[in-house]
Amino acid sequence: MFSTRNFNRSKPVLFILILFPSLLWAYQFVTGNLGVNPIEKLMDELGLMALRLIIITLMITTLSNIKPLKSIVVLRRMIGLFAFYYVCLHFSTYIVLDHFLDMQFIIQDIIKRPFITFGFISFLFLIPLASTSTNNMIKRLGFKLWKKIHYLIYPVAILASMHFYVLVRADKTEPVIYMGIIILLLLHRIFKRLTRPQLAQ
């Protein structure tokens, strides 16, 4: 049985582990060690990291259904915020490094290219999640409303994986794996809800 305290204690280590890749890529980017197309590489790595973290937050909820891992849910907020952190870096790389703040082009790109549209909406939906992540906000909104807002993580995950899927030219294995995991996690939630004892009565 892992206690809340166990998980809380692991937080500083996790924090450094999840933060580290971004520092490493930034360092490699600045020193010219990110391959021959560093902007593309940076954007890909940041985006993939964000998608993985989003999936991990969904997994945490599922894992917390297993009795001994019940308290793992205390890690979810930090990882969710890190997902937002990586999405922000990914998006700013696209805007600043890839397109040099050419806003006219970027707006056209977001409207015209489905995969960018998916990614952009996914980013927008993450903003309310990140900004309501404090205990204080949960109190102010009330748990019910807060929870409703946080259901946005489902469209976020689906859109983010579609963003990846559409972007790949030929070998779709990797995005399909991520989509598959997301679908399984969602199916598990639906199944749980359907088989739950009727609390509402």
Binding site: N37, E40, F100, P114
Partner: protein, 305 residues
């Protein structure tokens, strides 16, 4: 035009030069194992740079050989460099068939002894909106076409890449339908810009760049420049090509570089030149408008993309 009329080197001298380069490479590597093993072509750059447009700069050997689209070795850009070590580009033959006087199989060495190897510095524009400037060595495709003696009914050429899943791990997975196929119209194939390349930077063609012989059609997106060619068919109808078969709404038979016709998933208006920070404007026909625009004067390029 700044790409032609460059060093015309007979194949034998060319081989000697290559031997020399190899020799100096070996000694360079003994001296400093950690420094770039490719320093040797840097000492020799003037051969290539004099053929450059003023706005262009050669990409390095390292850039050209570590960032490739060659799905036969895997779908990531670094895969061809990492996974092509077991590929054996010699001995090599090219089968010529279809509408020719006499279908036959040429030994690559025999072809090479009948042609003039020259340097051609070309821009390469990938359909994914990145580009490079590459110093190729090769010969005009028209020379091989003459050797093949096509019938007058031959209007198109189809090219086929080798299929060796045991040496090309990417072929063990059906990402695209193997073997890779490409095609050109006869007049495109006969254009003096179209070459069969057998080397780059004075080296034999590296495996990851399409050893031992590949097509280079500089005014078309990179995927038209098929690698490791084993067969050329002369046909009277437009041949089927790999990317067009996979996604006809995204990739056409012509695939001319055209900043005004976007790929459905991204803009073709700009490109990232590998090694540069800011994007560049993409040029019509990749900057070879003067040489090739006449080929398409009766063609609606938005329809025949």
């Amino acid at each position: 035009m700044k790409i032609l009329g460059s060093e015309i080197t007979p194949y034998k001298t060319y081989l000697n030069r290559r031997k020399f380069i190899k020799g100096s490479l070996a000694s360079a590597m003994v001296a400093t194992v950690t420094s770039s093993a490719f320093a040797n072509h840097d000492s020799d750059l003037s051969i290539y740079t004099k053929n450059l447009n003023e706005n262009d700069k050669l990409n390095s050997y390292e850039e050209i050989t570590t960032y490739n689209n060659f799905y036969e070795f895997g779908t990531h850009k670094k895969h061809p460099h990492l996974n092509s070590g077991n590929f054996k580009p010699r001995p090599w033959t090219i089968k010529i068939d279809g509408l020719v006087k006499k279908p036959q199989t040429f030994d690559l060495e025999k072809i090479l002894s009948n042609v003039t190897i020259e340097d051609r510095v070309y821009r390469l524009r990938c359909v994914e909106a990145w580009s490079m400037v590459i110093p190729w060595q090769g010969f005009q495709l028209s020379e091989l076409i003459k050797m093949a003696e096509p019938l007058s009914s031959a209007k198109y050429l189809q090219f086929v890449t080798v299929f060796r899943p045991e040496e090309m791990p990417g072929q063990q997975k059906r990402t695209i339908i193997w073997p890779y196929r490409e095609g050109l119209r006869m007049d495109e194939a006969m254009n003096p810009l179209t070459i069969l390349a057998t080397g780059l930077y004075g080296h034999e063609m590296p495996n990851q760049n399409g050893a031992p012989i590949r097509l280079v059609v500089p005014w078309k997106y990179g995927f038209k420049s098929i690698k490791s060619i084993v067969e050329i068919r002369f046909l009277d109808t437009q041949p089927e090509t790999s990317w067009e078969t996979l996604a006809p709404w995204e990739y056409g038979f012509y695939a001319n570089v055209n900043p005004n016709v976007n790929h459905p998933r991204w803009s073709q208006g700009t490109e990232r030149r590998i090694g540069e920070f800011k994007r560049r404007e993409t040029l019509m026909f990749n900057g070879y408008e003067e040489e090739v625009a006449h080929l398409y004067k009766d063609l609606d390029l938005t329809k025949f993309y």
